[in-house]
Symmetry: C2
Subunit: 281 residues, 2 copies
């Protein structure tokens, strides 16, 4: 593909904007942006992280060697169906979506044979949305997951892997979509569910802020959440997330039993188990 | 009491050691330490944060103007009963315990009339225990709670408040023990219960570390927990913590219902509520 790879990022929100920054820092100069918000495009251009921005992407899409879809989960498939006549021959497409099984098969069903879609999940983000919160520092030392399909070419996988490392990610891992969604339900969606339930369970009108330490701050940080994105992620991975919640509830029940039975020794055992697991992390 | 106030810290663990550091930085030079671990005393002396250390504190306790009890909750009362004939006239005692109702009345019952106990809770700490993890930076901008009793003298309360500000705490608040324990069950103990249950609910043998981002890291940090301290804190505030868990479970049930019923709009509302609350914090 060579050095003059032309990259088009679709959606210059917090993740798409962060990709643009990381790509710039990695030395990629042929990076273009598509966004429906003209202010976002102007900001990205002023930051020097895209060469040009487009509200209507038809033309630049047709010239793209690599397309990064940094859009909400429900827009991935529609982007492919809207542009399937329009892609450059042998173009590679990748995404940033936190769940995979929801749309992978549907996308593969309509994807032209000459296009390779490398489904990816950069495990980094911020609570806030929009280009103003974009920063490539969140990628440093983060995990990057690629959910491989039967149709992926080795060269495409290697290209995205190389790109991830150049953008600052520390670990890149290839896995199957099913395992990805199971693990992500536990490591990402469950923590968000707990943070939301925790802060929502506060009794209205209390001066809680005067009674908090770092633990409450840490555990509620992600309760500040993009409701459009996360409602799609939760419902798009419903079965796995429910199972993760049930598993969590079993462990919380153990703590409750220890309290109800005043079983200090059993409680200490739970704490020792959690400490060992956290140390290993 | 004047400038030559002699302060004795009982227990130079992570919190007692951090007090010693903060007091040194605030300009207090007459600070002594009591600890049953001779290595700890030697380290504290080598760090220059205590003037002298004692394994048996009888003598130095009798010369102390201010005693800071930085010990496990179950040792607060026994320290008072063991030393009640031994305190200097008009000495002030304070503690650092995260729960209060467990022992306040019992302590007041045996406390000599000429001694004032200002029950305090510095809302800062670290997952690790021991003087090696002591640092006064955790107090910077943190909350400091004083649970006032009928017996406290105004001057004693003011002295501890002034000390807290000098050690770097940002907010000092006086409250009643009952409200303290209710609030702390929610803001401190519940987050610890959730973190422990979260990491313990992982399925054994998975390579979870390759699938985590900041959210899982943040939500499990406090799952690395001092089992002796926290089993005492949990059981010593059992009713309040159970109530906080029940309230949390109600909110988690709401999320489960949204998933089970695929109710995106209700899920968005829960996320909007949590985001507004977190922004306000």
């Amino acid at each position: 593909m060579g050095d003059i790879m032309r990259i088009v990022i679709v959606g210059l929100g917090v993740i798409g904007g962060s990709y643009a920054m990381a790509l710039k820092e990695a030395g990629y100069n042929e990076v273009y942006g598509i966004d429906k918000n003209i202010d976002t495009l102007n900001k990205a251009k002023a930051l020097g992280i895209i060469k040009e921005g487009y509200e209507d992407g038809k033309e630049i899409v047709s010239e793209a060697d690599l397309i990064v879809l940094a859009v909400y989960p429900d827009l991935v498939k529609s982007f492919i169906s809207n542009n399937k006549e329009n892609f450059k021959d042998n173009a590679i497409i990748t995404d940033v979506t936190g769940i995979k099984q929801l749309f992978i098969n549907e996308v593969l069903d309509i994807l032209p044979d000459n296009i390779d879609f490398v489904f990816a999940h950069p495990m980094a983000g911020r609570e806030k949305k929009g280009i103003d919160y974009a920063t490539n520092t969140v990628f440093k030392d983060a995990n990057f997951l690629i959910t491989v399909t039967d149709k992926n070419k080795i060269e495409s996988l290697e290209l995205i892997e190389e790109l991830a490392y150049k953008m600052g990610f520390k670990h890149v891992k290839r896995i199957c979509p099913k395992y990805h969604d199971e693990m992500i339900a536990f490591t990402s969606q469950l923590p968000h569910a707990l943070a939301v339930a925790l802060i929502n369970s506060d009794i209205e009108g209390r001066n809680t802020g005067e009674f908090i330490g770092d633990s409450y701050r840490d555990l509620t940080r992600i309760a500040n959440i993009n409701e459009t994105l996360w409602s799609q992620l939760f419902l798009g991975n419903k079965e796995n997330l429910l199972q993760a919640i049930y598993n969590f509830e079993e462990e919380l029940d153990k703590i409750k039993s220890c309290l109800e039975n005043e079983d200090k020794e059993a409680l200490r055992e739970l704490f020792i188990k959690s400490s060992v697991r956290r140390e290993k992390l």
